[in-house]
């Protein structure tokens, strides 16, 4: 058991190293850079800038410099925000993204569990059909469409909530809803499938034979087993939230990491792009690690490799 945990944890290191390497080389094969202007810079200034960011060194030297920085936790300077490091930008924006992500996750869990359980408990009734229609609609509606719709309804027409910016608790509501709906739909579909599968198990028949009510069986026996698979989607869910956050932060002008990533891509601020990619990868690796560590504890039937 301990060996398994240690191996999983150690495996995260080469994954992150490879992600860093891949993004580094992708960013360095791109022709042109952030310092290209419409008007050509004087050669001396160009040379100075390149020297400052070590851009005049051979690529392998740059790579080893970058890795050395990474080991010390230094993601390098930002090309665009002069005087700020990538670490500064990330430590400013990551907390905002995480706040938004957590609220969205909470919404996703509440809505997803309620819809999924209703659906699974009353399978093939009108409630089930309605819930599943909403779930399919939920995974079919892109977050920018949902975001625009929410802004139109709640900000422009009803004037209840602010359409953008990040000022108080009320500004979290709309973006978190826009971000949380798709994961809620995934959770609902998963829970329903899982409940339907568990309902055919022998222990359910035994419980039924003992004369327990259906409600009792569902609450005491089925749910316990049916919820376990939800843990496994924490990984993909984190990825969905990350991807969604680009769009949602863009729409609602939330000063989070996703929005800075989009700006970094437009500005060709390579160190910032690499840094943000690495942080996202670390988040996802962490989420997957959590699943691997939690799952054997939740479901003892799972054998460890």
């Amino acid at each position: 058991m301990l060996v398994y945990f240690l191996r999983r944890i150690l495996w995260a290191i080469p994954v992150l190293w490879l992600v860093a390497t891949i993004t580094f080389f992708i960013m360095h094969v791109v022709p042109g850079g952030p310092f290209d202007r419409e008007k050509k810079l004087p050669p001396e200034i160009q040379a100075n800038i390149e020297a400052k960011y070590h851009l005049d060194e051979p690529i392998l030297i740059q790579y080893s410099l970058y890795l050395k920085g990474l080991l010390k936790g230094d993601l390098g300077p930002s090309y665009k925000y002069v005087g700020r490091t990538v670490n500064d930008v990330i430590s400013d924006t990551l907390p905002v993204s995480i706040q938004l992500g957590l609220v969205a996750l909470l919404i996703a869990l509440i809505v997803g569990l309620i819809t999924g359980i209703t659906s699974g408990a009353f399978a093939n009734t009108i409630w089930d059909r309605m819930s599943m229609f909403f779930a399919t609609a939920g995974i079919s509606i892109p977050s920018f469409v949902l975001g625009a719709l929410l802004i139109l309804i709640f900000s422009h027409y009803l004037k209840l909530l602010p359409p953008a910016l990040w000022e108080n608790a009320r500004s979290v509501i709309l973006p978190a809803c826009a971000l949380g709906l798709a994961p809620a739909a995934y959770i609902a579909r998963l829970i329903r499938a899982s409940i339907l599968e568990e309902k055919h198990q022998d222990y359910v028949r035994t419980a039924r034979a003992k004369g327990f009510s259906e409600m009792m069986i569902l609450l005491r026996h089925v749910l316990k087993n049916a919820i376990a698979p939800v843990v496994t989607i924490i990984g993909p869910l984190t990825a969905t939230l990350v991807t969604g956050s680009f769009v949602v932060e863009f729409i609602f002008s939330v000063p989070g990491m996703g929005q800075f990533f989009i700006t970094a891509v437009t500005n060709r601020d390579y160190p910032l792009i690499m840094g943000v990619t690495l942080v996202y990868a670390a988040l996802i690796v962490l989420a997957n690690l959590l699943v691997d560590l939690l799952y054997p504890l939740i479901d003892p039937r799972i054998k460890l490799e």
Binding site: V29, A137, I141, A193, I233, F261, I273, T277, A281, V285
Partner: protein, 263 residues
């Protein structure tokens, strides 16, 4: 499911016959009639340059459908090759090939797509390549699992006893049995390609004007959200209904082929 299928076929017809259906040329500018609300002449209104939104939407349908269909197919092809080899060869090779996929899985799809488009550019080809280069990963995992399961069957052993080559066993005996999974996967790859393309275009990192897809149209509408909501409403509806249709179709097909592949 039937309704979804009919709708999808209708979309394909619209993409193919777009020029005959659309009431105006998609780039015709009537500057004196810009930002008009929906009316009889312009069913969905006009944009800020006075272009008929309905015609532009039909044009966008063609781009969106072509991009998503082609990427889904090429992602399916790449993923099947990778997954089939990994699953069939097994052992150490399989282990390393799957480790490779684990690494790619650590980077969110959309982020990887953006990184690739930074390198190869953002034209239709760029988007198509980026989406294909990312989309195969999920497919490879599914196909690998299927092949791993199928290769234990007695008929594979029988074929081997008859002296069939590995390639023949894989192509003639194993892959045909994955057809159900392939069809279902294809149906689900298309909406995710539509989603990825329109999302990219919407945040301004996808197709660039004058190319028009549903995503770029929605992006143009977004800028005028407050005063001219019709500009974002129609492209959004098109994306939403299409994705809904493909997802319902996929669910239906999954039941038909009895494939279990919830994410």
């Amino acid at each position: 499911m039937i309704i979804s299928l009919v709708f999808i076929i209708a979309l394909c017809v619209i993409s193919l016959l777009g020029d005959f259906i659309s009431p105006y040329a998609h780039d015709l500018q009537e500057t004196q009639n810009s930002l008009a609300s929906p009316s009889f002449e312009h069913w969905m209104g006009t944009d800020e340059l006075g272009r008929d939104l309905f015609s532009r939407l039909i044009y966008g349908t063609r781009v969106s459908m072509a991009v998503s269909l082609l990427t889904a197919l090429s992602a399916l092809f790449l993923g099947t090759c990778y997954g089939a080899i990994s699953g069939y060869v097994g052992g150490r090779v399989d282990n390393w090939m799957m480790r490779g996929i684990d690494v790619l899985y650590a980077i969110p799809d959309l982020l990887l797509i953006i990184l690739i488009t930074v390198v190869i550019g953002r034209g239709i080809t760029g988007i198509f390549l980026a989406l294909s280069l990312v989309g195969w990963i999920t497919v490879a995992r599914l196909i690998r699992g299927e092949v791993l399961r199928l290769k234990e069957n007695a008929y594979v052993e029988a074929a081997r006893a008859f002296g069939a080559t590995h390639l023949r066993i894989l192509l003639r005996h194993i892959l045909p049995n994955t057809i159900g999974v392939l069809i279902v996967t294809l149906t689900f790859r298309i909406p995710s390609a539509i989603l990825a393309e329109s999302t990219l275009s919407f945040i301004g990192l996808g197709l660039t004007p004058p190319a028009a897809s549903w995503g770029t149209l929605a992006n143009e509408g977004w800028k005028a959200l407050k005063f001219y909501p019709h500009l974002i409403l129609f492209p959004s509806l098109a994306i939403f209904i299409t994705m809904l249709a493909f997802n319902f179709l996929g669910d239906g097909l999954r039941d038909v082929f009895d494939v279990n592949q919830e994410k």
